[in-house]
Symmetry: C2
Subunit: 194 residues, 2 copies
């Protein structure tokens, strides 16, 4: 058990090029924002940072300050470590769009896909549109209360209590709580690998 080389292999954290990492962080933030159906302008306004700042951050052309990152990640509702890519999204995380609020309950890592299970609520009358996910991503919703109109933006479906809807979400899609009742549902998202 003591047979490591006398010259300790230099196991310092490899110092990655700054550009590479700000680039990745930008992509991650952009994805988190789009998952919530938020526009760049809206996130910038709600987080209290300039649009120029957020644009540069998402495109990886800036070297952001901790304060900036805190403001943005707080508004996205994720720990800073998630934006940095040093921690996976943890169960218990709440994501908030303009209309949808969803609590991540479980993450299943399978060989060909990752599944995320959410408890989702949409306040009565609220609606939001989310941009397309990556190719092959599917969403599966089971409604418990209220009436939800959901699916591809140009061809949404409607589901009441007890009903279930699935669709491929690699196109822009919308969520809307019809009627006067808040919608409660579970949302399962399947992300195929590659």
């Amino acid at each position: 058990m003591l047979h490591d080389s006398p010259m300790e292999s230099d196991s310092q954290t490899p110092r990655p090029a700054l550009e590479s990492n700000t680039h990745d962080i930008g992509l991650r933030i952009r994805q988190l924002r789009e998952e919530r159906g938020m526009s760049l302008s809206e996130l910038a306004r709600r987080a209290g940072v300039g649009k120029a700042t957020l644009s540069g951050l998402e495109n990886g052309t800036r070297n952001p300050t901790l304060e900036t990152l805190w403001s943005v990640t707080a508004e996205l509702g994720v720990p800073l470590a998630v934006a940095l890519g040093t921690a996976p999204a943890a169960p218990g995380t709440t994501i908030r769009g303009t209309a949808v609020a969803a609590v991540l309950l479980e993450v299943f890592e399978e060989r060909e896909a990752t599944y995320e299970l959410y408890r989702m609520t949409v306040p009565a009358g609220a609606a939001q549109t989310s941009p397309a996910h990556h190719r092959g991503v599917t969403e599966h919703i089971t409604v418990f209360a209220g009436t939800l109109r959901v699916g591809p933006a140009d061809r949404p479906l409607t589901a009441g209590p007890g009903e279930h809807i699935s669709w491929v979400s690699d196109v822009p899609h919308s969520y809307e709580a019809l009627g006067t009742q808040d919608v409660h549902a579970t949302l399962l998202i399947r992300y195929p690998h590659r």
Copy 2:
């Protein structure tokens, strides 16, 4: 299982005052640096940042850039998340002082104390001095190879292969590999709580 309140409690990450957190990050970085027996000037030079920058960072009077944090944490050999306090030091972490290199093997969290177990090597002839730890911290070293002179800076002890040394490390203490052999040893540090 569905009995949560309709008005979702706002579980956004609480937005802490910037001052508070930069302050904590500063303390954490200072501690990591001192654990490695490195001076502020030395860490600044090796990390390629200004002394003013590092001083301000450790004192929490700046709002550091990601680039700065990356440079410093890379030199300390810890992931950025550790400096941010979002991740505990993980086994496998290598810490490097001017003379001592230590790989964290295990962390034991007990009710009254935390224990960290390291595999430690000191190149023949190398020496370093580390500042005092917090009150009550003790170090326990078992030497496997080489001869180690270690302990309070004013009253060090010497241990050869198979020998063991313990001392209270809340005073400045030094490590030195005597003779021509690299020193290999295990190091157990006990941090009492409060």
